[in-house]
Symmetry: C2
Subunit: 113 residues, 2 copies
Amino acid sequence: MKVLWKKSPQTAKQVIDQLKGSVEWNPKTIKTLLNRLVNKEVLDFTKKGRIYEYHPLYSEEECRQNERNSFLKRVYNGALKPMMVAFLEENELSSKDIEELKNILDKESKGEA
Amino acid sequence: MKVLWKKSPQTAKQVIDQLKGSVEWNPKTIKTLLNRLVNKEVLDFTKKGRIYEYHPLYSEEECRQNERNSFLKRVYNGALKPMMVAFLEENELSSKDIEELKNILDKESKGEA
DNA sequence: TATGATCGATTACAGTTGTAAACGATAAAG
DNA sequence: CTTTATCGTTTACAACTGTAATCGATCATA
């Protein structure tokens, strides 16, 4: 539902058109979802005549941060390293990515005396 | 609900006792949950007389793996490196952990020629 | 101005989850 | 043997989610 993160504000019709092709939802369904997101206070809108322009109340990065924290807590009880190890062990990374991650780790170890 | 991962099999009563203190659920509630987990085929049981001993059908690590994959896909569209970077940037790691992670990364870069 | 298309709001309805009580069978206690 | 406590099973019910149709108002069109 967060086609609105790519561009905002957008009217319901615009959102529906965006989603056409990517998912197979009835336009009615999308209206309902927009409505519910407004009720949950994650979207807001401004009236342009009788038409609403919707816009997100939270950035994609804010949501990701929430997701990261809750995932880490729920699945790993907050233990970061074991989680990192598991991800590293089951996914392949390009050597470039590996270098970049090592650089970040280096910076971290400097950050704390 | 996965006190059963720590020790299994266990009867409903044992599970209830385990949970006493950690969470505030009515024993009835716990029975319901056990039942639903059996229906969802994530728990199974063997009858000991009229009492059931429950045991998990999937290991904790199997579930974690699922959680990891769905999280990575859902929140990061499967892109591992950005996810790693975000986790590293918002959490502190001990220098020991940092070293260990770097070692793993080293091994990975050797693993692929 | 009457009519049909379109908007957002309201209502629908099945499935899942949180939280538990009621029910029927059996084992334990008197 | 009767009463009571204890099992697992079934039923309850509200909130939330997936998926949409309907309704009342308004805008566009004939």
